[in-house]
């Protein structure tokens, strides 16, 4: 196995991009990543792309061939991977494995979702496909209601409060306000969250990540070749993935994600690091409760203390551990297929010291945590400065 480094990343501005199409966004993100890597397209050996529901949302399948064509990368192999909201980081992992194994040398990985072409109802239905269609969706559950069940149980078992969850949204909006790529560059107060419309009790509008258009891309090369392209290579020191039951009701516990615990354990093992070594983390806050559970599953705090840790500001920018400096899914936006790759881009910028107004002072080691559905897939990557 070869060591793998990220030498370029690129993002489009996240938001309601009514004036822009799927191929335009992913091509822009890809070109930005290549430009960031100072790499000509002709150096790329393979492309991996993550998108969750292009078929449902824009009626387009076969998207990686489309992306390769649009980016002028033909005839390299272009492969799509799909794991619901974790599609982006599963694509990252596919790219990582291709380079690590020696099959390919220079790989570009993309994640993209175009969500605003259809109604909110159609988006909700398409996203529902991340759960168990037969046992959850068909019975009327939607993702907000599944996460609401998790939130209720967390409140019941650990005394977590709605205010504690709201603090995660407030923090993520604070960070998003310092990120030019974020959908919502606006700070909010606890009151904004608490008084927002109830979506699925106890989750309110501001506990939920939005519907977003966006794309992200990253360029991977063997670490030994990285200096050819950049002075600040970022090494992927762990890439781990785990699976769990698709349906929430089949699990032993509603308040933890076994896939996240399993993937993070493996990742810490690969990197020979422990949770306290992590300086900055991008975690999957599709709902505020998901961030509280994520920081528990990742070992940043004890089980059940995610609410307390968030409320006490220990996950804020430049605190104990800076969580979701990009603004997370809540503030930066959640174009589902792009999210996993965006998390990687954010950590790369943090480790390079290029995160502008949201720069974490000591950022040597960063982690990404990307969840598919209600936790049936979880991917954890750990990145480290390559110098």
């Amino acid at each position: 196995m070869r060591k793998v480094a990220i030498v370029g990343v690129g993002l489009t501005k996240f938001g309601e991009s009514w004036h822009r199409g799927f191929r335009e966004m992913i091509t822009e993100a890809g070109i930005r990543a290549l430009a960031d890597a100072n790499m000509p397209g002709s150096d790329i050996d393979a492309l991996y792309g993550g998108t969750m529901a292009a078929g449902r949302l824009i009626g387009q399948e076969h998207i990686t061939a489309l992306i390769a064509d649009s980016m002028g990368l033909n005839p390299i192999p272009a492969t799509r991977v799909e794991a619901a909201c974790a599609s982006g980081s599963v694509a990252m992992r596919a790219g990582y494995m291709a380079v690590a194994s020696g099959i390919h040398d220079q790989v570009v990985v993309g994640g993209v979702e175009k969500m605003t072409d259809v109604s909110t109802g159609e988006v909700t239905s398409a996203l529902g496909g991340a759960g168990d269609q037969e046992w959850e969706l068909f019975m009327g559950a939607t993702f907000p209601s599944l996460y609401a069940l998790m939130a209720r149980r967390h409140m019941h078992d650990y005394g977590t409060t709605e205010e504690q969850m709201a603090h995660a949204a407030v923090k993520n909006h604070y960070n998003a306000a310092r990120n030019k790529y974020a959908q919502y560059q606006k700070e909010i107060t606890l009151d904004t969250v608490m008084k927002s419309k109830v979506i699925s009790s106890p989750l309110k509008m501001f506990d939920c990540s939005p519907i977003t258009d966006g794309a992200a891309a990253a360029v991977l090369v063997p670490l030994e070749k990285a200096r050819k392209y950049t002075d600040t290579p970022i090494e992927i020191v762990a890439s781990a993935q785990a699976s769990d039951t698709l349906s929430l009701h089949s699990r032993e516990s509603l308040t933890r994600l076994n896939a996240a615990i399993e993937a993070s354990k493996k990742a810490y093992g690969q990197a020979k690091l422990k949770p306290s070594d992590i300086d900055v983390a991008e975690v999957h806050d599709c709902f505020t409760i998901a961030e509280l559970i994520a920081i528990e599953d990742l070992g940043f705090c004890k089980k059940g203390e995610g609410g307390k840790m968030t409320e006490q500001g220990e996950t804020a920018l430049n605190s104990k551990i800076s969580v979701n400096t990009s603004g997370g899914l809540k503030g930066c936006g959640h174009p589902v297929g792009a999210t996993g790759v965006k998390q990687i881009a954010e950590i790369v910028w943090q480790l390079r010291g290029e995160a502008e107004k949201r720069q974490v002072k000591k950022a040597d080691i960063g982690l990404t945590h990307n969840v598919g559905g209600s936790g049936a897939t979880c991917v954890v990557h750990i990145l480290k400065r390559g110098d």
Binding site: E16, W18, H19, T116, K197
Partner: protein, 346 residues
């Protein structure tokens, strides 16, 4: 010189409160009122439709103008709720104001802006000498699917403007339009209620067209926001026109006299016409008014209007817009359903 020789308004007597609609659907009325800035909307009576309201406003306009019906050479009625799919509303109005038979007439449709486009057509016909006076009307009994966000605002009303050269109360100094094919809101012939693109109706539709038309007109006329005393924008709710004013750097105080949506809802083709009428009711000679309509689909017509001395002379013949706005009776949701003929099982 082309100008407004006379104008007239009409708003039905009945209202329903946003709170009452919210109560019916289990929504938070306070949040909706705060979000849309619309407290209540007008509801037509059982025997009212676009034709009857167009006639009411047109009669007021003819009286205000002080002209004979026979001198009107063109009647154009803009609406998206013409009572007939085939058979004009304009002929009904023309008969009612005594303009028949030596005239031309037609119905227009361009979502909420057909009325202002009718004004532009009249301007062309008057300035070319084809007709002495043209009557341009915007009128609607707007439809909103029960339970849809539109139901809180879709209301009824009409505004009529007589365009001519003589004894104008206000001069139309210039007009400019901005049009693209943008499907933000539509209704197929067989559908009872319109469909819309939700948040898509905002930025790429309303704001793009209203802002660009207003900017285009100001550039054409070589003026800035500081040169106008009043501004009227199409008003699907109270939030959109206020935000458009902010984008254009226009003091929102200039918007308030012509912002009727909070009290009567969105009268669609009537909205910018009634807003302009409300401003003309209070404007002083020498003042300038910027009017920009918006029709989904999508386009905006922008006008720069200068108030003339004649406005004071003709005021005694006027039925002010606020008379209609303030004269009201509330309906509960059940009566509203009856008025709007929404009970399909009957």
């Amino acid at each position: 010189m082309i100008g407004i020789v006379g104008y007239g308004a009409y708003v039905p007597h009945y209202r329903i409160k946003a709170e009452e609609i919210a109560r019916t659907w289990g929504e938070d009325g306070w949040r909706i009122i705060k979000g849309l800035g619309v407290q209540e909307k007008s509801v037509p009576d059982l025997d009212e439709d676009t034709a009857t309201m167009a006639v009411e406003s047109a009669r007021n306009a003819v009286v205000h103008a002080g002209i004979k019906g026979k001198s009107i050479g063109a009647v154009f009625v803009g609406s998206e709720s013409h009572p007939y799919a085939v058979k004009p509303t304009a002929t009904i109005v023309a008969e009612a104001v005594g303009a028949t038979p030596h005239l031309t007439a037609a119905d227009f449709e361009f979502a909420c802006k057909a009325g202002t486009t009718a004004i532009q057509c009249c301007m062309g016909m008057v300035s070319s000498g084809m007709v002495e006076y043209g009557l341009a009307i915007g009128a609607d009994t707007a439809q909103g699917r029960p339970g849809d966000a539109l139901e809180y605002t879709a209301s009824a009303g009409a505004g009529s403007f007589i365009i001519g050269k003589k004894n104008a109360v206000a001069e139309i100094l210039g007009t400019y339009s901005y049009t693209t094919d943008t499907p933000d809101f539509w209704r197929r012939p067989s559908a009872d209620f319109p469909s819309h693109g939700g948040r898509f109706t905002g930025e790429p539709a309303y704001f793009k067209h209203v802002v660009n038309a207003s900017k285009g007109l100001m550039e054409k006329m070589k003026i800035g926001p500081e040169d106008v005393d009043y501004v009227v924008f199409h008003q699907p709710n109270a939030k959109f026109p206020r935000h458009a004013a902010k984008i254009l750097g226009i003091d929102s105080k200039k918007l308030e006299p012509g912002l009727l949506t909070p009290l009567i809802g969105n009268t669609y083709s009537g909205a910018s016409m009634l807003g302009l009428a409300a401003v003309l009711d209070v404007a002083k000679p020498g003042q300038h008014v910027l009017v920009t309509s918006f029709g989904s689909g999508a386009g905006s017509d922008s006008f720069l209007i200068k108030i003339k001395d004649e406005i004071e002379e003709k005021r005694s013949r006027l039925v002010p817009v606020m008379n209609y706005v303030n004269n009201k009776e509330y309906l509960d949701y059940a009566l509203y359903v009856k008025h709007r003929k929404k009970l399909k099982s009957l």
